[in-house]
């Protein structure tokens, strides 16, 4: 399986980084930088800022590779989380560039993993998270997506969806709880 082979390559290279192996970091970069740059660019919206953050991401990977535990997370999940977190940190520091377009949840379409890279990923994704997302109300799903993909805060989302802050907080918290319950039912 291609995906498995790739995952193996990334995990093996990550495991070599803590001993100070620079070529291992370069291997990880070669295999993952297009994806992680896509993450930074989506959240930050601006190429040069996204490249700055991408650099921070791989320096973080270099320093923290020893924390990666393959039994807990897939290497891509771990790397994407670092890229999202560093991008969101940058967004919070600048408070610019973030997507504040109004969200019209009436135009919401059911979630599907149509953008997934491979058929296998689509199947895996559809089985869990996407199935459970589609059990949420459309406004809950829209709020979660705004946070995940646009790096919006509660305040941002309340403004984008034109509801009071307290309402947005309870939408999201309730949605997170429903999501967890649904994912555990499998």
């Amino acid at each position: 399986m291609d995906l498995d082979a790739n995952r193996r390559l990334i995990a093996t290279a990550l495991a070599r980084i803590p001993s100070g192996d620079r070529t291992a970091l370069q291997t990880v970069y070669r295999l993952t930088s297009a994806k992680l740059f896509g993450v930074c660019l989506r959240i930050l919206g601006e190429r040069s800022e996204a490249e700055d953050v991408l650099q921070e991401v791989y320096v973080t990977v270099w320093r923290r590779a020893a924390d990666f535990d393959e039994s807990r997370a897939s290497p891509m999940t771990w790397l994407i989380a670092i890229a999202r977190n560093r991008s969101i940190d940058r967004l919070r520091a600048s408070r610019q560039n973030r997507n504040m377009d109004p969200i019209d949840d009436a135009a919401d379409v059911p979630d599907s993993a149509a953008g997934a890279d491979s058929a296998l990923e689509r199947v895996q994704a559809d089985a869990g998270l996407y199935r459970c997302l589609n059990e949420l109300a459309s406004h809950e799903r829209a709020a979660l997506r705004g946070a995940f993909f646009d790096g919006n805060t509660y305040e941002d989302l309340a403004a984008r969806m034109k509801v009071p802050l307290g309402t947005m907080k309870s939408w999201i918290r309730r949605a997170l709880i429903k999501l967890k319950v649904c994912l555990e039912q499998r």
Partner: protein, 231 residues
Amino acid sequence: MTDTFDHSGLPEDELLAAEYALGVLTGSDRLAVEQRASRDNGFARLIADWEQRLAPWGTEFSEVTPSPQVWERIAGALPATQAQTTGLWQNLNFWRGFGFAAGAFAAACLAALIYMGTLTRQPLVATIEGGGHRHFVVTVDAGRGTIAVVPAAFSPDATRVPELWLIPSDGKPRPVGLLRGDQPVTLAISPDLAALAKKDAVLAVSLEPPGGSITGQPTGPVIASGKLTSL
């Protein structure tokens, strides 16, 4: 506070972890979560679990190739390798200016020096001790350009890694490489570093962040040291 419940039915900690993983917190709240996760493994685990739950969404990020300069900047931000910090590297660069012939001549001289080194140098050993324990046993083969380090009673630190330093008579630590507490390692050293690994030079071990010190000097505590002696 894992036992206090929000109106909605998840422990407050778990909600906080979920909010962090989702990305909805403000800057100061994110910082507080990250600081707590760095010292509370259980809490860090809650975050990792939520990252895993949301992971399928990661497939929706499209791939975009960054410009080639990004890797160069990353490589520049990593700890300097020995080759870049030693005089040899500067000399090689200097020689390169004279073209290939001069470079080849230099390489031949270097090879001759290393060969002569193997004839004249005996292996040196050191026991690296600190706090009443023998932590590592080191054998330096300057001729071959290798340093073998065997852990004795070294207990690894969860967050830091042991890094070996060579401190010659000038008293300035030179980075040698990262060690492991659970298995022997053999580190290759540059001819310049090998030339400094003489009798009575000191080897020291400091605790550094994963990946090693990025400054080229020890940044963490020196936990053990020992002098090189001939066999």
